[in-house]
Symmetry: C2
Subunit: 245 residues, 2 copies
Amino acid sequence: MNFLKNKDIKKYKKEYEYSYTLGVFPTLELIEKKKEQIIKIFISSKGIENEGIRKIEKIAKESKILIEENDKMINRLSNKNNTYAIGVFKKYRSKLEKDNHIVLVNPSDMGNFGTIARTALGFNIKNIAIISPGIDIFDPRAIRASMGAIFKLNIEYFKTFSEYNNRFQENEKYSFILDSELYLDQLERVENKFSLIFGNESSGLDEEYFKKISKGIKIRQSEEIDSLNLAISVGIAIYEFTKTI
Amino acid sequence: MNFLKNKDIKKYKKEYEYSYTLGVFPTLELIEKKKEQIIKIFISSKGIENEGIRKIEKIAKESKILIEENDKMINRLSNKNNTYAIGVFKKYRSKLEKDNHIVLVNPSDMGNFGTIARTALGFNIKNIAIISPGIDIFDPRAIRASMGAIFKLNIEYFKTFSEYNNRFQENEKYSFILDSELYLDQLERVENKFSLIFGNESSGLDEEYFKKISKGIKIRQSEEIDSLNLAISVGIAIYEFTKTI
């Protein structure tokens, strides 16, 4: 992989063993947290005045990371005209730690996922479980939406919720379900490690199943809307739960 | 305007006097709340099995709204293949009521704005001020991101923050500023009507100015991220403020 040739680097597909960051900010996060995974960094000739690019060049030199000015490559991998840096890296797997978790059941929107990842990090929740099928966290659009936050998180895929549940039985589990009795704003101090479980953007959670294996909880909302945006719900939930720690 | 001919209906530009909804859900919201503004509804032949389309047809017939199956028009106005309904309407102005407000200073992202509009509605905050320059709320992409919530809200543009401030002096003003002393999670019961003020996605608020004319407040966050996504910040803030009502 470290000898991946330029001609073999193509627009991302899920089955590839490598992916890449689009833009200066996520590339800096990649360098900071997953330096050992980097295959090569490409920078644009247009970024010559950019402070972030100077920083990337400096670190790359110090750390002996391959770096190359290559506008053709940038254009090949990015649709946007203003991408100044791309960091190509070998994909990796991470394992969840025993701690507080966000559990996303079949998340399907990359933008939402990226925002959730960044928000979780902002509240010091560093472990996210994804119950398959779900979005590909290494899709460059998901990485960009997270502003590179995914490199600072442990994100692990599970085939089923049971698989997750069996490994983390000790966590107190809360499922966000619209017809729950318990409102988030009535939450009492949570003493144990917790898992906050959220369903798919359109279909939500299988309420019957999740009510059995967890506490159902909901965010108070008016009847004017069907439901809150998923990332907003997760953000509000994380805010409330981490407040009680 | 009510006699706008099909050949004159074009892909949206800000300067047009009309705009349109893209999709069944926002079109239903348009019909529910701003029926009098509707010029014409177009539906797709592909939507024949769609329950929402049946509902739109029924209401249009009852209310004598022009409705037409026109795939060519749908393709002209929409980039997406799965748009089944488009509601063309005459733009309108609305005025803020004396109540709780969200104030967005120079918002620049349509997706964020749409999510904020829908979230505000979900917490019964029905008045949003936009300090110019800011996104065009009638851009079909903003309408879609709001899932049609904009039709249920009063959204008013102000040339400057002072113009807003002079008219709503009685509201207690809170500005979301990163280097404030007051944390949102320490907020005490708010007795008066409030205005929650948020800056632009990249540049934030002019901290010196807003600290003078309002209470600075911030959301507790880790140092791992620069700042939360704007829509997430607004969502968390609305949740906390409406909890204390």
